[in-house]
């Protein structure tokens, strides 16, 4: 009874938020002199109008699922990992560097190795912040932000000097073909990579870890109440580092999948804020692995659709507004929830009087 009600809310709140956000954004669109219905129609077509559009949306969704899981796992464990961006960059950079040299290795080995490198490096990068928190008390928000900058400049330097190839945008050489993720299907220039499968598997694994294992039990206990955790024989230091590492592994995986499935190399713009988007995604998905998949899909389709909307002269910033409002409403879900409870209360009182 309690459970089912909670589940309904979990779906209803974000859904309502999206609708309200779209309505508010519609006002903005009118104000800038466009027809919101037309704009939204274009957006819809841009995101789902055909095979290529859908493929595009899925490609945009994939890394968002993974960074969303990264941040979401952190939240569940009581750590605020703002560093998914940097962990993703490091994961992409190092998996590229390894994958460049795997030319003679068959895919069955090359792909898992490259993925593992991405995860391992992401985990290690995040674990630095975890260890700083566990042993010196440095807050992870500060240290992960600083690690983001280090990762950003390290990546830029690597593609500007030691790894640089070609002209134009600084970029690394291509990775070995055997390390590329095989496309599920190719429409025109768009490849729908198998990365989405990896992302969904990661969500399932995260769910299992959190809900079915003693590791999940411990990280959640530390997140909720570190005193009780310690009392129960759970090491706070170990679990803070572990939570950050798992979170970072997911972000690193996002980087590896992006490098292996989309760009086939490392370039400075590879992450492009997807790590930060992970924060929004996990908030909208309420830190629930399944919710995160849907939230990533929502943001992914809004992003793809916004490109189409731009042809009408509607700035893609409108999409940012929608995204902002959705997050605001979900984060402030209490508001929506309170309104709903209030309405029900009113209805019942009215019913009692009659």
């Amino acid at each position: 009874m309690i459970k089912s009600q909670q589940r309904i809310y979990a779906v209803l709140v974000p859904l309502l938020s999206v609708i309200i956000a779209l309505l508010i954004a519609a006002v903005v669109i009118v104000l800038v002199g466009n027809d919101p219905l037309k704009a939204y129609w274009e957006m819809l077509k841009g995101a789902f109008g055909g095979a290529q559009e859908i493929a595009n949306t899925v490609v945009k969704t994939t890394p968002l699922i993974l960074t969303g899981l990264a941040v979401g796992f952190g939240f569940r464990a009581g750590v605020f990992n703002i560093g998914a961006e940097g962990q993703m960059a490091m994961g992409a950079l190092f998996s590229t560097m390894v994958a460049m040299n795997l030319g003679s290795m068959p895919s069955v080995f090359a792909i898992p190795i490259t993925l593992l490198v991405g995860m391992g490096v992401g985990a290690g990068w995040a674990a630095i912040a975890g260890a700083l928190k566990a042993f010196t008390g440095a807050h992870e928000v500060i240290s992960t932000i600083m690690l983001n900058w280090i990762a950003y400049y390290l990546g830029n330097y690597m593609v500007a000097a030691p790894l640089a190839v070609g002209s134009g945008t600084p970029k690394s050489p291509e990775i070995a073909p055997s390390a590329k993720l095989p496309p599920l299907l190719t429409v025109h220039a768009t490849e729908l990579t198998s990365g989405i499968i990896i992302a969904v598997i990661a969500a399932v694994v995260m769910y299992v870890i959190l809900e079915k294992t003693s590791v999940g039990y411990e990280v959640k206990a530390v997140g909720f109440n570190p005193y009780a955790a310690e009392y129960g024989g759970i090491s706070i230091a170990k679990n803070v580092v572990l939570s950050m590492a798992i979170s970072g592994a997911l972000a690193g995986l996002a980087g590896a999948v992006e490098a292996m499935g989309v760009h086939h190399r490392y370039l400075g713009a590879l992450t492009a804020g997807k790590g930060f988007d992970g924060i929004s995604v996990s908030l909208i998905g309420q830190n629930n692995p399944i919710g995160i998949i849907f939230a990533a899909f929502l943001i992914g389709s809004l992003r793809t659709g916004s490109n189409a909307m731009q042809f009408l002269g509607v700035s893609k910033h409108v999409v940012m507004i929608v995204q902002g409002i959705v997050i605001f409403l979900v984060a402030a879900e209490r508001i929506v929830r309170t309104i709903m409870i209030y309405l029900r209360f009113r209805r019942r009182e009215a019913g009692m009087e009659s």
């Binding site: 009874m1 079915k212 294992t213 003693s214 039990y217 909720f224 009780a228 009392y231 024989g233």
Partner: protein, 519 residues
């Protein structure tokens, strides 16, 4: 009742209140009538619905049905703000103060009259001081909350309500965390407040307190009111019967037991407190299997730090701690648990429970990574649920809903859950701190019997309690603690309460016996 019911006769009239939680009918057509200027006790078993009833009076919960009148006026409370405006103040079962703010700041926080914080604070300081003096609360308004003892913190909560103009005070189990001395002082304050015309609703599990300060009593049981009594015309036995629905032993019978080998040996242990001052100053003692060793003392004399050091939650900086012949000084809680330690902590919210966890998760805290609950890192939910159900059955934790978050249990049932978990972990050595804090008399009886049963099963038991009665009636041997040291080691049958009091105030056993003998 000869006369027609008229809400104007009462400061508080809650009539026909019903409140349903998922799976629990917490209040079932409850009527509570409190006259102006009286101290009115609300008593009842754990989970009887006392806190729920008060939360409705304070606007934190809305009744499903029923009416609330305050000074004859019907109220439709939408939140605590409405209740405060109607002159109601509440001191909660678990305090809600901000640790690193001063007393005055805490009191102003969230008050209506906000006009620039600085101006307000100056005024507030004066006003708080005045209030504090006129009711004899003696609070230092500039002290930080974290630096003052619990008893003082509670007075701050009372001051807060008075500052906001409360005419009706609700105190939810205020004495559960107080020393007998502090309790006596609180009663003085309550009597002063009553003289000043305030109305007080006082929740407690201790019937002697009911007898000592209250004018009337409302007894609740399983969500219903089972009695309305005038204190002068009743007695603890009658109240107990109405509460529990049967006769209760107000004191357990203890059989002598022959202790076995030494299980725990502590030598010259030194422990520092949070401010880095010595809290435990070189204590030495031992506990044998099949023996209950009590530690008596006024709160704040190092018992907390001693317990934390023995249970792996705090480091000792000197001394030796042996458990079953092994040196376990400064081992972690985990390692100690693996060696057979169990621990009932004094603060169930800080240490005992992860409140956001469902009950069945809390039921295995500390053993969550061990068979049969966990096999190669995977939790076995079926086993855990079954175990939790049995635990709830045996220790009568209510309601028996394993999936419910522990935050939704009543205070006493949270305590029962902690006690149940620790006592069922088959310990060799159990450290029990304030085990019956917040428990009703029926539950206390059961817990006391269980402690004795553990002893008879050859467990080494260390019992730390501020309830002198509890220590005296259960322990086989008692160490009295004062300012970090033991002032004496005694057997309960060979000392008087008066002698215990002297030792708790710092006199050694030799001194005490010396003075007694020379008299």
């Amino acid at each position: 009742m000869e006369r027609e019911f008229d809400p104007r006769d009462y400061a508080v009239a809650m009539v026909g209140i019903t409140k349903q939680f998922p799976g629990v009918l917490a209040n079932d057509n409850v009527t509570l009538l409190v006259r102006k200027g009286e101290i009115h006790a609300v008593v009842g078993e754990n989970g009887a619905g006392k806190t729920t009833l008060m939360n409705q009076l304070y606007g934190l919960l809305r009744p499903d049905s029923g009416k609330i009148y305050v000074f004859g006026r019907e109220l439709n409370l939408k939140g605590p703000r409405d209740a405060i405006n109607a002159g109601i103040g509440m001191v909660h079962q678990h305090f809600m103060l901000v640790d690193n703010l001063t007393v005055a700041e805490n009191i102003v926080l969230g008050s209506e009259t906000r006009r620039g914080v600085i101006f307000d604070l100056r005024q507030a300081r004066m006003r708080v001081k005045e209030l504090s003096e006129s009711y004899g609360l003696m609070v230092d308004v500039d002290a930080k909350i974290e630096d003052i003892p619990v008893g003082m913190q509670q007075r701050v909560e009372i001051l807060k309500t008075l500052y906001r103009g409360a005419e009706i005070l609700i105190l939810d189990e205020p004495t559960a965390v107080l020393t007998p001395q502090e309790t006596e002082e609180l009663f003085e304050i309550l009597r002063k407040l009553r003289e000043a015309g305030k109305t007080i609703i006082f929740i407690t599990h201790k019937l002697n307190e009911v007898m000592a300060v209250t004018d009337r009593v409302t007894v609740m049981r399983q969500g219903k009111v089972t009695g309305n009594l005038i204190t002068k015309e009743t007695n603890p036995r009658e109240i107990a019967r109405l509460m529990v629905g049967r006769e209760v032993l107000l004191r357990v019978e203890k059989q002598p037991n022959e202790p076995d080998d030494v299980v725990v040996e502590v030598e010259d242990l030194w422990v520092k407190d949070n401010r880095n001052l010595d809290a435990v100053k070189g204590v030495s003692f031992y506990v044998r299997a099949g023996e209950i060793v009590g530690i008596a003392g006024v709160a704040g004399n190092g018992q907390t730090e001693l317990v934390e050091a023995l249970t792996g939650l705090r480091k000792a900086h000197k001394g030796k701690y042996m458990l079953l012949g092994q040196d376990v000084t400064n081992l972690s809680a985990r390692e100690l648990r693996l060696r057979g330690l169990a621990h009932i902590p004094e603060d169930r919210h800080k240490y005992g429970l992860v409140l956001d966890f469902p009950n069945y998760y809390n039921a295995i805290l500390g053993r969550h990574d061990q068979e049969p609950f966990c096999r190669s890192s995977f939790l076995d939910h079926d086993v855990i649920l079954k175990y939790t159900k049995e635990l709830f059955e045996t220790f009568d934790v209510r309601p028996r809903i394993p999936e419910m978050p522990s935050a939704n249990l009543s205070g006493g049932n949270q305590q029962k859950l902690v006690v149940a978990r620790e006592m069922s972990s088959r310990p060799k050595f159990i450290v029990i701190s304030q085990p019956t804090r917040g428990l009703d008399i029926g539950a206390i009886e059961y817990i006391h019997k269980t402690i004795l049963r553990l002893r008879d099963e050859n467990v080494a038991v260390l019992l730390v309690s501020m309830e002198l009665d509890e220590v005296m009636s259960l322990s086989d041997r008692i160490y009295v603690m004062y300012e970090g040291r033991f002032t004496g080691e005694v057997r309960p049958e060979e000392v008087t309460l008066e002698e215990m009091g002297l030792m708790m105030a710092g006199h050694t056993w030799e001194e005490v016996r010396g003075t007694v003998a020379t008299r």
